[in-house]
């Protein structure tokens, strides 16, 4: 049983979400994009865990349960993302997302 100020925790997840968005907006390498998305998703999962930890009600464990589901979904997303990386590498010889413009006219 310990006490925290929730503001610091929320500020941390806000900063991590900002870092993830920065990576998504500025990086061109597909793997770096995936990593940025992971950072942003982890910031969201942190919020679920915070509010589950600070809420004393009996349904608070739903927050942790949703966090478990989100971690699984994020791992799934990385697996599909890497399949796309491999396909892109085979088609284009590079994993630069700026070059994957086959649908652009």
């Amino acid at each position: 049983m310990s006490a925290f100020s929730p503001a610091g925790l929320l500020a941390l997840s806000g900063a991590l979400l900002g870092l993830g968005l920065f990576g998504i907006l500025t990086r061109r390498n597909f793997i770096l994009l995936l990593i940025s998305v992971e950072i942003a998703i982890n910031a969201a999962v942190l919020n679920f865990v915070y509010f589950a930890a600070f809420s004393g009600s009996s349904s608070a464990l739903s927050g942790q349960a949703i966090a478990v589901v989100l971690i699984g979904l994020a791992a799934t997303e990385v697996a599909v993302g890497l399949a796309i990386v491999l396909g892109l590498n085979r088609l284009r010889g590079s994993i630069n997302v700026a070059e994957a413009s086959a649908l652009r006219r």
Partner: protein, 162 residues
């Protein structure tokens, strides 16, 4: 509790530094090493927030599986794995967007709750009860999503596709 506050400050600083380093270093392999540290640090934060099951899950899924998967992706897609990334500049639009988001955050920071909240600890067995009773549908949906993702990933990388 001064000790927990101190631990949280250290963990938060390490999280931000490792995440920023992961996005800023130019060797992709170094990025993955930094992101592995980031995940281990988040696992420590989950332990601090009295969620030990999530901490172990973070260590196993992220620091273990996702890191290796990303490393594998780097390994098979480049000739020299320590090759450097080209520097990409930041255009005016992201800078404008960043300024906008910063303004929203500064305004929102005044709404943050002040004072201290108490961290409640739960037994991991209670979490499994919640996970398989009340929140069971979410777990089923996760299983379906993983199954379809597996099929999609195999479709994307299968042989003989041009």
């Amino acid at each position: 509790m001064i000790l927990e506050e101190l631990a949280f400050l250290v963990i938060a600083a390490v999280a931000i530094v490792t995440a920023a380093n992961a996005l800023l270093v130019r060797e992709l392999v170094h990025t993955i090493l930094w992101i592995a540290l980031f995940f281990v640090d988040l696992a420590a934060l989950y332990f601090l927030l009295a969620a030990p099951f999530l901490g172990v899950l973070e260590l196993g899924v992220y620091a273990g599986a996702v890191t290796i998967l990303l490393l594998f992706g780097v390994m098979v897609t480049r000739k020299r794995i320590f090759a450097r990334e080209a520097v990409t500049g930041i255009g005016p639009a992201p800078l404008l967007l960043a300024g906008l988001v910063l303004a929203v955050v500064v305004v929102g920071a005044e709404e943050l709750p002040s004072g201290e909240g108490t961290v409640h600890a739960y037994a991991p067995a209670l979490l499994s009860q919640a996970l398989f009773n009340a929140d069971g549908p979410w777990l089923l949906l996760l299983g379906l999503a993983m199954l379809s993702a597996l099929a999609g990933a195999i479709y994307l990388v299968r042989e003989g596709r041009e």
